[in-house]
Amino acid sequence: MGFYLVLVFFLDFFLLVDQDTLALDIHQLSQKDSILIDQRNDYLKKNLFSITADSSLLDMALQTLSAAEILGYQKGVLMADERLGLIYQYTFSNPFKALDYYLQALNLAESHAHLNEYQWGIKGNIATIYYEQEEFKKALDFFREVSDNSAAAELTAILNIGNIYGSLEIYDSAIFYFSKGLEHAQINTNPTQQANLYSNLSLIYSQAGQPEQAITTAEKSLKLVDSLEIDFVKPTAYANAAMAYLGTGDLEKAAALAQESLEYSLIQGNLFIQKSAWGTLSDIYAAEGNFKEALDAYRSFSTLKDSLNNQNRRVEINRKQMAFDFEKERTQAAAEIEKQKLVRKYTLWTGILILTGLLIASYFYMRRRDALTAKKEADFKALVSETELKALRSQMNPHFIFNSLNSIGDYILKNDADAAQDYLSKFGKLMRMVLENSALNEIQLSDDIRFLELYLQVESKRQAGKFTYQINISEDLEPGNILVPPMILQPFIENCIWHAFLGMQEKGLIEINFKKEKDKLLCSVQDNGVGRNNKNSDTEKKSMGVSITESRIKILREQSGFQGELRIIDNTSASGTRVEIILPLHLAF
């Protein structure tokens, strides 16, 4: 024996209630237009279930939606979205599109404080869709949320939860929720719902094997439908009551109720209940031992069952189609999310790249700026040392002048006017060279040698027969193409002339050599004089020219690129001193 009835949905449609439309509108945009939108939404609500196949409602709802969107009238948009969801769910049996609109409405309701209260109705509708699609768990979650939060929709949600537990054959839970529904304050104001509730509860009791309670409950539903003439619930109520009586073995009563149910369902054209009634009747006849009648009833039951099965199959196919569409949409949504993730990722990377680029650019900018600063600093330092060098070079002039004046005085003392004259003109020439050269950083080696020759000529003339000199330039040197600091050897030659040959009997020899050593120019001044150690103590102190030259080389060394060196070597094997100055071989061209 089976139970041939299913639970009837509590079709309360969770319609949104908005009593305060006008109050809200005053603070909204253009009064006239928003009122019009509200009126259209109200109209839609009223007509949605009275003329179910009215496709004009869809157009109207879409127009309302776009008008509300243009106006920016959020409540209007929400309402229109919700109406469109209802139209798709019930008129076009397209739960997928319906869900789409519900979700849009829900989004609006949740993101605007003044629309928050509408979310429960929308959630109820969404739950109904899940219930229809037999996604009981999701449906339960939504219904529970609704029943916990919305007083208006609480009862319907509770009853639907009961129904779901019934479908899941969890009878004690179903009974608990139905009982909770019965205790609800609102149940008495809606007798249809109340009758339905009793009827469904009696079925649950029958299924749970509690025939006594089933009968009590069924009687209550029968009383309601009969006294208030609720024709819509009658077939179900009678069928469920028949089931209850069958459960207790009151076959006569059960048969009568089943017959009545059959009659009502025939009038209403409800095949499902007809089938259940025939099934119940067949069971009753069989229990009475009236097998012929039982067989006839069962035949009617089978015929209806087959046609219903076809219908169910269509529903099943439809449901599968829906599920497929859902899955497809979900995949597309996932793809869209993936795409957006990718876009975000690329945006992030582009951002990182740009940032990195900026960092690199600023790094190079800073490096360039630092380099410029460093260059400026270096330039400044160069200028400073340049000035110092110039000062040192010009210091040599008076020093040299006084030495020469001494010589001229010497001639005058000897009363040799002609010699003094000649000496003077040579000295003048020399002075001219000193002045010209000391203005320059570098001069050609050929010019410097010319200067040294003149200087040695002048000095040898002054100390006739005291010394001779020799200037040797190695053949791999091209004096016209080598640049040297001007007059750098002169103080050492002067030292030789004035000190090296003091007290010497034989003729002195000053040998000046220029040699190339790799990329260096080796300049040397060598004498065969008494040497530094044999000098008198009062001449021991450094000559002015030598100390000036030492400073010059030091500064030149500090200037980048110059690697000069000064060496004074005492000749140990023979007598005399050797001074070496190593300069970088600096070519002019």
Partner: protein
């Protein structure tokens, strides 16, 4: 031979006279100590050789030259330290002696002066000299002593100079070549302030005639000649070009 010494300082005149002692018998020597007396004296005595001081009191020896009708003599300037004058002498190829005058230098100058060659075209050379002394921004010229005499070139018409050991080939923009027995260094010193630059040991060029500069180290002149720039001169060359373009 008639020799004139024009100097306002007696000791300078005396020194030249001392150097001329060996030639006293074979020459007539006249001395003047002012611009006016010198102009007058030159007309009267028509000397073959004139030693002319640059500074004569608060006037100059150049006034003597511009004031005198007669300039058909060999001219040697004497000067102490007038740098601008020295350059002018060099440009005009007029000989000069620096005071105090060195005996050897004097003898060389005297030797040259007796050579007929050096008496040629003095008028034109004095013009060149005056061009440089006047400090006017007119086209300054240069006297180039060649084998056959002097060539007078506008400095801005010189395209380039090329070293040939102790000689220098001077090329003018119209394609003529003059060979002068002076070193390239001598010309470099003279022409540096006139927009010339020594790009190489053997090349001095007029920056005005650069057509192309390639960073690989070459310049192409307006006549299409491609010359190498010495690696060590590159930076200085670029700097020189910059300051040349600014001026």
């Amino acid at each position: 031979m008639t020799i004139a010494i024009i100097d306002d300082e007696q000791h300078c005149t005396d020194r030249i006279l001392a150097f001329l002692k060996p030639y006293q018998k074979s020459s007539v020597i006249v001395c003047f100590d002012s611009v006016d007396s010198a102009i007058e004296g030159l007309e009267i005595h028509r000397p073959d050789l004139v030693f002319l001081d640059v500074m004569l009191g608060n006037r100059t020896g150049f006034e003597v030259l511009s004031g005198s009708e007669y300039v058909d003599f060999c001219l040697v300037f004497t000067t102490s330290y007038e740098q601008y004058a020295l350059d002018a002498f060099r440009f005009s190829a007029i000989d000069y002696l620096l005071k105090p005058i060195d005996r050897e230098d004097f003898l060389v100058a005297f030797q040259k002066a007796t050579d007929k060659m050096h008496q040629k075209q003095l008028k034109e050379r004095v013009d060149v000299l005056m061009g440089h002394i006047s400090q006017l921004p007119n086209s300054k010229k240069i006297s180039l002593p060649t084998k056959d005499g002097f060539e007078f070139l506008s400095i801005q018409d010189i395209l380039r100079c090329e070293a040939a050991i102790n000689y220098t080939h001077v090329f003018s923009k119209d394609g003529k070549k003059y060979t002068v027995s002076k070193t390239l260094k001598y010309f470099e010193g003279l022409l540096l302030d006139f927009g010339f630059f020594r790009i190489h040991n053997s090349h001095l060029i007029n920056l005005n005639f650069i057509k192309v500069y390639s960073k690989s180290g070459y310049v192409t002149l307006s006549n299409g000649l491609k010359l190498e720039i010495s690696v060590r001169r590159k930076d200085a060359f670029v700097k020189a070009c910059e300051s040349f373009l600014k001026s």
